[in-house]
Amino acid sequence: MNYFYTKYIVVEKLIEEFHQMDLSKDEQHHLALLVDSSLHHAILDEILSNLSGQDKKLFLKFLKDDPENEKLMDFLKDKVEGVEEKIKKAADDLVKEMHQDMKKAKEK
């Protein structure tokens, strides 16, 4: 599933590593779901940490109604300075950690 922030997330490095691993289709799906869901949680945390109580509720309502709608980013830009960079950084940091995990996994 795509979200309004999908275009800010770069997972190519992880996918390249996945490609080189011997994984069954079920294992691929399982790990992919963990990656996407972890990124989603990390990004939501970053966004919610920068919103007030009322804006949190509004944001979550908009997200629930139409998670792909790019207008969500317009809403956030009005409320949080540099929100795009904050989302990118939250995602990049997690992708880097997961990339390191994958390198270690290949040594097992």
Binding site: M1, H19, L23, H30, L34, H40, K57
Partner: protein, 277 residues
Amino acid sequence: MKFTSKRPHFEYLKNKWTARHKSLQNKLWDKHKISLIGGLLLLTVPNPIALPISQPIHAKDDILAGFDENAVLAKKLQDDLPKEVRSLNPDEEENLLQTLSGYFGFEVTGAIEGIKLNRNFGLIGGEQHLYRYPGDNVYAHAENTMDWAKYGSAGIASGLGAWGYFSPSKQEFTDIDKMREKYYLAIQTFLAPGFAENVAKYRDFFKYRKILVINPKTGQAVVAVVGDAGPAEWTGKHLGGSPEVMDALGLAMGPRKGPVLYFFIDDKENKISLGPK
């Protein structure tokens, strides 16, 4: 005795990432006073209660997406379609066009500007991804890792599509280009009546022409564009679908092949979006 998994690299990642996921989940819920926003957040996180799990997750819900709501259409199509996969006669075609236009709410047609497809009922087969711009690679096609898990194994064709790259460069690559490759069809344009006498005209006409494809067994449907020419007649298949098209039609598993209906969409104002319907 110490237990050793047959796939230690998978077990290592599964354990490490499940623990991290749980930690991220708890942090989110604790920090943002979940009691205030309650179930709203539950609905915004993917699979909030299923992780961690001991068995791999099967994302089969996507394969069946749209099945129930399209069951009425499937029943109607199965009543109206011939049992064998063959070209439709004019009466059958007209009847189906009326059914489909009424059901989808846009004009589905067998001919535009006097140009017709060689057939409208045929066997679709799964195609590979296509290069979208110079320097593109299969990893870049996935917008998230689940995309890769679902569509990555289809690979990428060694040659370009019939109209070359979708964009001249990565810098000029747009969301429209992305969607065209995502939902592309290979159509036997070279077998369209009149092609040999009007090659240049037909080449321009077919480029990114919108087509509605329906799996008559399930009613699952997708709007796609003509992005390549093929398959060759000797393959026994009549058209090809991108990995995402096959998924939308419920034909991504097993032999990646099956009978489909396919017609032009008359969308002069370009209002009909690509993707599952």
